[in-house]
């Protein structure tokens, strides 16, 4: 079943067309990645889905048209985003950040979920009383992901979780993403690190100057010579 469906999605910044009418599907339970170079329109696509930028085209989520739904309504529907640059609340503690993630929830399971995050991210448990601004980049990324999980997402949108992290930490973050997907959360991952993203994803889309250049099974894309040359730093030379 298709959980997210975008058709002819366009984003304009003034006269610049950042996203030029793309089609994109994410099935329930899938881990889909959106890869491409800097400025290809990946993050704009994600922001358009979340209603953070003005967009045109059709976006359906869980069978419902969300083209006009304001951004703040989406977490209540289970569509949760981890913003680019993490967007943690630097002066609040780790625990306060996590609590803020559950802002849209009113059910009684919040305390249990908090413990679940601490079990998944022991680093955060150690630092629960520390302010988020004092965490390292990798810890901040973990916090941003854990905070999003506090909203009990059905579809999690990740915007460049590897940005600015050391390779070892990137690998760790990708392990976490894979683990979250295994637990049944549908994920749309926007990433510049094409190899790692394709290695953990089921399917992938390759974006180039605002349009989808290639799409298909992640494994097939990894083997595709065009992808290898342009994004994996291999090939003709």
């Amino acid at each position: 079943m298709t959980l997210l469906e975008a058709r002819a999605l366009e984003v304009h910044y003034g006269g610049i067309r950042a996203v030029r009418g793309i089609d994109l599907d994410v099935g329930e339970g899938e881990l889909v990645c959106l890869i491409g170079a800097n400025g290809a329109g990946k993050s704009s696509t994600l922001r358009a889905i979340c209603g953070l930028v003005a967009r045109s085209g059709r976006i359906r989520y869980a069978g419902e048209d969300i083209g006009a739904t304001p951004a703040f309504e989406l977490p209540r529907k289970g569509l949760v985003m981890v913003p680019e640059g993490r967007g943690i609340f630097p002066r609040l503690t780790v625990e306060e950040n996590l609590a803020m993630g559950a802002y849209a929830r009113t059910d009684p399971g919040i305390a249990d979920d908090l413990e679940r995050q601490y079990a998944m991210f022991p680093r955060l448990a150690e630092r629960r009383r520390q302010t988020a601004g004092t965490l390292s980049g990798g810890e901040q990324q973990m916090l941003a992901i854990a905070r999003a999980l506090m909203a009990r997402p059905r579809l999690l949108l990740l915007d460049e979780p590897s940005m600015g992290l050391a390779p070892m930490l990137v690998a760790k973050i990708f392990d976490i993403v894979r683990e979250i997907a295994r637990q049944g959360v549908t994920i749309l991952l926007v990433e510049q690190n094409a190899r790692l993203a394709l290695e953990i994803a089921h399917r992938g889309y390759v974006m180039e100057s605002g349009a989808i250049a290639l799409s298909g099974e992640a494994r097939a894309l990894l083997a595709d010579p065009r992808v290898r040359e342009a994004y994996l730093g291999e090939g003709a030379g």
């Binding site: 967007g87 943690i88 002066r91 802002y103």
Partner: protein
């Protein structure tokens, strides 16, 4: 100091402390009246500033929106009271009818200011709010033609005092042999209103709305991603902050029985911002301390600078007014140097200034 003030686990001590403070505050006007009624009036103005600072703290401290035109809401409340309880239009509504109207009208103006500035932050927001404050004042100055609403720079006089049953707040009474002057009655009234405002503020800070303000202040995009309607939350901050200003304004009008646009100049807005920043943005008690200090210290200096010069040099070397502002400025600079987060910083502000110095705070 925190350990000293920590009364957790010792509720009896806490309550005794609160009772002692309340008693001292209630009896304060008798002590002040012995020095002179002027000091009771000064205390009243100080409480009004505390109300204003608490209102502005919602906007600046909680929601992180810098507002340099806050005094406009004070003006709206004051003019609302003056127009509905004075011989100018010959309307004489009782104060408990006007105060809510004034609060609501100020809240409306708060939204009016908030709506077009939703996308602005920091310096840009400050400039627009500054302009808004001036617009309101200039309107008050000029709304005497073609229909005379505000009487322009002449101001509105003979505003009705508060009346509570048979008690007239403008007269002096003798109760059980004690002389109770008008300003003393206003002091108690202001104190009662202040208690209500403090309770509302404390409750707000710990509420869902308070948390939403915190999130908006920290990172607006992330706040929206958490499911917070940032538009509503910001407008609510403007409206709530403004309504407290409106209430303070209404009480100011009743107390002074005369108001004119001169009372609502830019310097007043800056003063309230200074109180909030000096006391400790976001900390209710800090903000109150800032307001009390900044309204009392200039008065104390006013009464001591001239005699001190006489005693030291035998004549006035420098105008007392100049020295007063000089010392005032110096005090502000010193506080900002040695306590950059304010006298009583909020937990969150303190953390922000601390973590830059922590050795382990390097970003990986």
């Amino acid at each position: 100091m925190r350990r000293l003030l920590d009364a957790r686990g010792r509720p009896a001590l806490l309550w005794a402390g609160i009772a002692a403070i309340v008693l001292a505050l209630v009896l304060l006007p008798f002590a002040l009246a012995m020095i002179g009624t002027t000091w009771v009036r000064i205390a009243n103005i100080a409480v009004l500033y505390v109300l204003l600072a608490l209102g502005l703290n919602i906007v600046v401290g909680f929601a992180g929106l810098l507002d340099l035109g806050y005094i406009a809401f004070y003006a709206v409340g004051a003019y609302c009271y003056a127009l509905l309880a004075s011989p100018h239009f010959d309307i004489h509504l009782p104060f408990w009818v006007i105060l809510p109207i004034g609060a609501a009208l100020a809240a409306f103006f708060g939204v009016l200011l908030g709506a077009p500035t939703l996308k602005l932050r920091g310096d840009y927001l400050a400039i627009v709010t500054l302009g808004f404050g001036e617009i309101v004042r200039i309107f008050l100055n000029n709304l005497s033609q073609p229909v005379n609403i505000t009487r322009g720079p002449q101001g509105i006089a003979q505003i009705d005092p508060f009346r509570l049953g048979p008690i007239d707040f403008s007269r002096t009474d003798t109760v059980l042999g004690l002389t109770v002057s008008g300003p003393m009655k206003y002091y108690w009234l202001l104190l009662a209103v202040l208690v209500v405002v403090i309770v509302v503020n404390v409750r707000l800070q710990d509420s869902r709305i308070g948390r939403a303000w915190e999130a908006v202040r920290e990172d607006e995009i992330a706040a929206r991603a958490m499911g917070i309607n940032t538009t509503h939350v910001k407008l609510l901050a403007f409206a709530m902050g403004a309504s407290f200003g409106g209430i303070a304004g209404g009480m100011f009008a009743a107390m002074q029985s005369f108001i004119s646009p001169e009372s609502f100049v830019l310097v007043e807005s800056i003063m309230v911002v200074a109180m909030v920043v000096l006391g400790g943005m976001g900390n209710i008690w800090g903000v109150m301390l800032g307001a009390v200090l900044l309204s009392f210290v200039p008065e104390v200096l006013r009464w001591t600078v001239a005699p001190a010069q006489e005693a030291l040099f035998g004549r006035q070397l420098i105008e007392p007014e100049v020295i007063r502002m000089l010392l005032f400025g110096l005090a502000l600079v010193l506080v900002m140097l040695f306590r950059p987060a304010g006298l009583l910083p909020s937990q969150v502000r303190k953390r922000e200034l601390d973590w830059r110095e922590e050795p382990g705070a390097l970003r990986a």
